[in-house]
């Protein structure tokens, strides 16, 4: 009876566990069909626009409003890198353009103004707009003119906007992109800092960091071969005094866009992990992500919590872009050290590989030789240390060689009949058929050009006195004589 109860209880628990697992799918927001909260209420609101890297404050609205956005296009010449000037076409005078923040369901009355000093007409396609061209057809604006159109923000999310005047690639490559955030109706969770970062690729006639005024290079853009890959339109936009600043123990949110025109970004913050990522700016977050892909013409929202002070470098992890084209930004985090989380360097000492073994006897032998007091025992010890890792690779540690491949040195008749001949073999190598202990070997022993006279002498002395060999000794002078008298083979040391 008790067993039955136990089994039933166990089955019940399993069943409950399974049920819990199947109801964990996240709820859908319903997209545009659920995004129309009706006509705007209250007085029209003028949208607060910010220049990067700042983000406007949360709207704090709880009902749909009429929001007036006024954005001016300016063509401006600025530094793209130190000493390098470029004519950018901008929304609001900056690259990326001003950050726009509205709430889902808002009715946005969009005014696009084109500064009279502009050479080109411009328009705008906002990826958060439902309607033809994303607004582009309705906002085509000649220099010195302004246009207006109105749209309802039906979908929540973070969206790219960009100019769509022909040739579109050139307008985008000149910096005409930015982000518009359509807050979910309940708003975003509060954090300590929100920042606006946008990657773009730039194409100049001159090389990377070639000074002077640089023009746009159409062929490089078509070939997708950028000269610069940058965050916020300049190499120094977010470095040095322009670095982003935060403190330890803070929650950081980055709205990261990618204006392109061509490249996809592998966005990574060195030394941090994204606690939360809304990949592609979508609604449902992923957690614990190291590097997130941001499509060209796309964006993502990443959040992380700072624990350890230091400089955190943001990169496009297609890493040559970071170090050779400028895709680098810095967040300085200040605060107290946390050795329990990250200690910094604790040790730095010398390290020699196992294979090489302890070379102390070699040093001792060298000293003794210099003092004229080298003994056979010292030679054997030094030779043994050198044998390991050099000769042992083929002839093996116990000198037995490999059958049919490498001849043995242990009790080798070939060696012992003429030990001095071994000097020649070591110095000059040996190719072709040899018979050792009744077996034939036909291989190549390369000349030991890396060994000097002392080393050869010591190794051979070790060999002669190991594994039951007859003994004897070879001196440095013996080796010198052979070296001087034999014709050097090609590739052998002199």
């Amino acid at each position: 009876m008790k067993n039955w109860i136990a089994i039933s209880a166990a089955l019940l628990l399993v069943a409950c566990g399974q049920q819990a697992a199947t109801t964990s799918a996240p709820a859908e927001t319903g997209g545009s069909r659920s995004g129309d909260f009706g006509p705007p209420q209250g007085e029209p609101v003028k949208a607060v626009l910010t220049s990067p890297p700042l983000v406007p404050p949360p709207t704090g609205r709880t009902a749909p409003a009429k929001v007036i956005v006024e954005l001016e296009v300016q063509e401006v010449e600025r530094e793209i890198a130190e000493g390098v000037k470029y004519t950018f076409w901008t929304f609001g005078g900056t690259v990326p353009g001003s950050f726009i923040r509205v709430r889902q369901g808002d009715t946005v009355e969009f005014h696009l103004k084109n500064h009279p000093g502009s050479k080109m007409p411009h328009n705008i396609d906002l990826h958060g707009v439902t309607g033809p061209g994303g607004g582009a057809a309705s906002s085509f604006t000649a220099p010195g003119h302004a246009t207006q159109f109105t749209f309802k923000a039906l979908n929540q999310g973070i969206y790219v906007y960009h100019c769509a005047t022909a040739p579109v690639g050139m307008h985008v490559a000149n910096g005409m992109y930015g982000l518009i955030l359509v807050e979910p109706p309940e708003g975003l969770a509060p954090v300590d800092h929100e920042f606006y970062v946008m990657q773009g690729d730039f194409y100049t006639v001159g090389k990377y960091r070639e000074k002077g005024v640089q023009a746009f290079d159409m062929q490089k853009a078509i070939d997708e071969n950028p000269t610069y890959v940058l965050f916020n339109g300049a190499e120094t936009a977010l470095t040095g005094p322009n670095s982003l600043k935060a403190k330890t123990g803070q929650r950081i949110r980055l709205f990261v866009g990618n204006g392109g025109p061509n490249l996809v970004s592998s966005f990574h913050v060195i030394g941090e992990i994204f606690d939360k990522v809304q990949p592609e700016g979508g609604t449902h977050p992923q957690e614990n992500v190291q590097t997130t892909l941001i499509p060209a013409g796309g964006a993502a929202i990443v959040e992380f919590h700072t624990e350890v002070p230091g400089n955190y470098i943001m990169v496009d992890h297609s890493i040559f872009r970071a170090f050779n084209k400028g895709a680098l930004a810095i967040m300085e985090v200040s605060g107290d050290a946390r050795a329990d989380i990250y200690s910094g360097k604790q040790a730095d000492e010398s390290y020699l590989s196992d294979k090489v073994g302890d070379l102390a006897p070699v040093a001792a032998a060298a000293e003794a030789k210099a003092a004229g007091k080298l003994t056979k025992e010292q030679q054997i010890a030094a030779g043994g240390a050198l044998f390991k890792g050099t000769c042992s690779v083929c002839h093996q540690d116990s000198g037995q060689g490999i059958p049919d491949v490498f001849p043995p040195l242990a009790k080798s008749d070939y060696l012992l009949k003429d030990p001095k001949h071994a000097i020649d073999v070591a110095l000059n190598g040996l190719t072709g058929k040899v018979t050792v202990n009744g077996k034939t070997y036909n291989s190549v022993m390369p000349p030991m050009s890396q060994l000097n006279d002392d080393e050869i002498a010591n190794i051979l002395t070790y060999v002669l006195n190991s594994w039951g060999n007859d003994g004897g000794a070879i001196s440095k002078e013996d080796v010198q004589k052979v070296r001087a008298n034999t014709k050097r083979a090609e590739g052998a040391a002199h």
């Binding site: 328009n123 061209g133 309705s138 604006t141």
Partner: protein, 264 residues
């Protein structure tokens, strides 16, 4: 009686001056041969080429000084008298007063003039604005060849002008090197009005190519532009198609041509 005679003399003198000025071109015009060429704006859906009959084109853009003589002759085109339907608030606003451009601006290409004003100027000289095809035909030339449009260096040189911000000081009209036809200032100075501005039926969203809306233009959608890699020309069309006839701009100037009557 003397008073009346003086008035008559004044009137006659004015009439003579008007005729003299109107008949005189800025300089002998360049003779442009006719031809058929691949165009960015196809005349019809399957046709990629346009034909241009021989015509004569001003060798340089119309300058502020030229335009001032027109305004003196036709005071209804003064900036303080012109009807807003013919020119917007920016008309000749860079001139120090309503009648003269001043010494600094005199030789520079006339800008801040609307299509209506440019058209009236050319008509007053017994000429007309060039059509887009006439302009495109001449603009395809480099200094040495009649059609340099596939030359990447030629294209890049033009793109470089687009990359520079519009500056207050334009090079003097006629000061740039002549192209193959002996015409100057075609690239790198100002955009130029064309007669058939109303025919540039390009969608305001320039990405719409192959417009499925057949009813938009009574029997066709917006024009699909050819040679999409010829960015230099694409940008010129984008600019012209963004302008309405009474708009003025600091980078839009013009010149006149004489030749066969263009099609409507």
């Amino acid at each position: 009686m003397r008073h009346a005679a003086q008035v008559v003399c004044l009137v006659v003198a004015a009439a003579c001056a008007h005729t003299a000025w109107a008949a005189q071109p800025a300089a002998p015009r360049a003779a442009i041969p006719g031809g058929t060429f691949a165009t960015i704006l196809p005349p019809a859906e399957k046709l990629k080429e346009a034909t241009v009959r021989a015509f004569q084109m001003d060798r340089r853009t119309v300058s502020n000084a030229d335009f001032a003589r027109f305004v003196a002759d036709r005071p209804e085109w003064r900036r303080d008298r012109v009807a807003p339907i013919f020119a917007d608030a920016g008309y000749l606003r860079h001139w120090p007063n309503a009648t003269t451009p001043g010494e600094n601006l005199a030789a520079q290409p006339a800008t801040q003039v609307s299509w209506f004003a440019a058209k009236a100027y050319c008509e007053a000289r017994g000429a007309r604005l060039p059509t887009w095809y006439e302009w495109e035909f001449v603009a395809a030339a480099s200094a040495t060849v009649p059609d340099a449009r596939d030359d990447p260096q030629w294209r890049q040189a033009i793109l470089e002008w687009y990359a520079r911000p519009a500056s207050a000081t334009l090079p003097d009209s006629g000061s740039t090197a002549p192209n193959f036809y002996g015409v100057r200032d075609v690239h790198g100075v100002v955009w130029e009005w064309v007669l058939d501005l109303g025919s540039m039926m390009v969608s305001a969203d320039n990405r719409e190519q192959g417009d499925p809306d057949e009813k938009r233009f009574c029997g066709s959608g917006a024009l699909t532009m050819e040679q999409k890699d010829n960015y230099a020309m694409l940008m010129r069309i984008a600019t012209l198609s963004s302008m309405q006839a009474n708009y003025t701009s600091g980078t839009m100037g013009f010149r006149c041509v004489t030749g066969p009557e263009p099609r409507p």
